[in-house]
Subunit: 340 residues, 2 copies
Amino acid sequence: MRVTLKDIAEEAGVSLMTVSNVVNGKKARVSEATRERILRIVRQRGYVPSASARSLAARSSRLIGLLVPAEGDGNLTISPHTVEVVGTLERELRRHDYHLMLRGIAETAEINEALRSWNLDGAVLLGFQDKVIDRLTSRTVGNVAIVAMDSYSENPLTLGVRSDDYTGALLATRHLVALGHRRIAFAGPAFAATGVVRQRFEGYREALREAAIPWDETLQNTVETTHGSGREFGRRLAAEHSGATAIVATADILAIGAMEGLTESGLAVPGDVSVVGFDDTEIARYVTPKLTTVAQDLPAKASVTVRLLLDHLLRAETPEKATTLDVTLIERSTTAPPTA
Amino acid sequence: MRVTLKDIAEEAGVSLMTVSNVVNGKKARVSEATRERILRIVRQRGYVPSASARSLAARSSRLIGLLVPAEGDGNLTISPHTVEVVGTLERELRRHDYHLMLRGIAETAEINEALRSWNLDGAVLLGFQDKVIDRLTSRTVGNVAIVAMDSYSENPLTLGVRSDDYTGALLATRHLVALGHRRIAFAGPAFAATGVVRQRFEGYREALREAAIPWDETLQNTVETTHGSGREFGRRLAAEHSGATAIVATADILAIGAMEGLTESGLAVPGDVSVVGFDDTEIARYVTPKLTTVAQDLPAKASVTVRLLLDHLLRAETPEKATTLDVTLIERSTTAPPTA
DNA sequence: CGTCAAAGGTATAGCGCTAAACCTATCACA
DNA sequence: TGTGATAGGTTTAGCGCTATACCTTTGACG
């Protein structure tokens, strides 16, 4: 059977609460001698506290939900750069004795269910649409620390962490403009849904405005964040003769798909068309030619998330509501001056 | 405050146990009328059962640990193809009302701690070395359903799921042999540690034996599973004039690194050297030329894992101890006959 | 008519832990 | 001599749920 606090208490000849206090490192008054005796017995008997009992009695689970949108078929949508964030997140949280519960969310109501059921102390929402975050009410959020990653929702009940998507696209587009491009296409998913895409679009627009390049609506393309859609887009661009000599894509995988589509259609990258991606996923470094892209600071994203969570959990006072992280343009080999 | 069973019971004018039985869909005798009345109140009040209380009272947490090795610095090591497995795993388990707890494991002792502390009903061990699985004793495993993924440990306390690594390498090497290659290099991490690598090596050896190609030890290379090591290996191979005209690599990323190393050294892939990777990660499809590689059946890996877990959890009788999944060679563009 | 099974519940005793209040001995100090 | 502060504990009352044993009513059937 399980070794419980009671067992340890009996063996040490003290009350159960004394053991509890020692195990939890409380500042409570326990003599050094007793403390050491108890700790020795704890180690020797291999005592491990029961998280459920703790959670029940203390009304705090030391559990953080890692909530990820699940598509209709229930499949999780985890972008490759998100994975890197999760690793760091887990490590940092574990250091503070918090644990992660991974949970796919198909309908918004499930967020509430997950929070309540497991008595989560906090939650990290990965890649939800802004409107989902917007809809969270104090009834479901309660006292839970919620960090919405990559959200531009203004919901005061949640904390936010995101990269500077606007500036990222601004830098990418400026870079193309500086190379001499004037007809620069934008490719990204329908952006009504996600603030991230909208921000990137706005950054792109701003760079064009700076350069006094008139806006041509036909250069704005709705393309899904998949290799297939990107490829199709590349082919279409090649066929259309829209005069575009460069592409700003909202994701590396989309950019790489576009490169393939262009190449298949007989256009060279960056000879005929320059391409810039987004997120600096691993794959950007390994394609040929290597992809110029906007890099996020993923370790920072993770540690800021943890800091926001812990601040909320410990002090219960919210510092900043949202943090926007710097972003850098990584110039590799898919961008060059347009051919005259 | 939280809505509890008691609240529902009072409002429905029945005892707490009746509500509990209804909520848990027990076959217990409750009249249809009562059942419906209770369910209505449950919905209306937004009652969500407390997982910790359940876990404590029922001695079962409905929690499955997703245990991942953490390096010295605490960083998790999650291979890209593992991520896909996790998505499916979560979805399938959630359908059966089990939940996933993600946990990095730095020392073996932490496995025990994780199991005990959270009262896990089961655990999936992702990518641990065989010796770690070997060392698990009945004291730490207890009654927990443990599935060790990609392990070749014979530990009778655990269940195993893996792809047919041996056959994968066999197919890859046969393919090269069939193309006419005779000097085929093998590149993979030091395989004392991982059964996966050893199996792949044995498959490779067998294919050579079949073709009556004498074994040349210098063709066996210890290369880490990173792009950097692969690249270094490619350069070395080009410099050494070992006469190798083909490479079997134990991972796509390693293969892609090798391709880069070779190309940088002036050798063409597949013109001068053919390359086969392993795992068919996304990246294999997007490099140029597209990588020939051995694909695992990841959805199957996930669903078999879930089935093994559930069988153990429900019937508490273990069916097969280990399942080995079929594997397919995906011929793309990095393999060609050697140049005469 | 007796009795026995089944339907439809209820009552009780924890699961392992923590928060909060309480107790006692000892010592300082005015 | 009384007061009170402090160290070093203990006691009590749950947290929200489930397992288990138990109880009552009803109807069937020989």
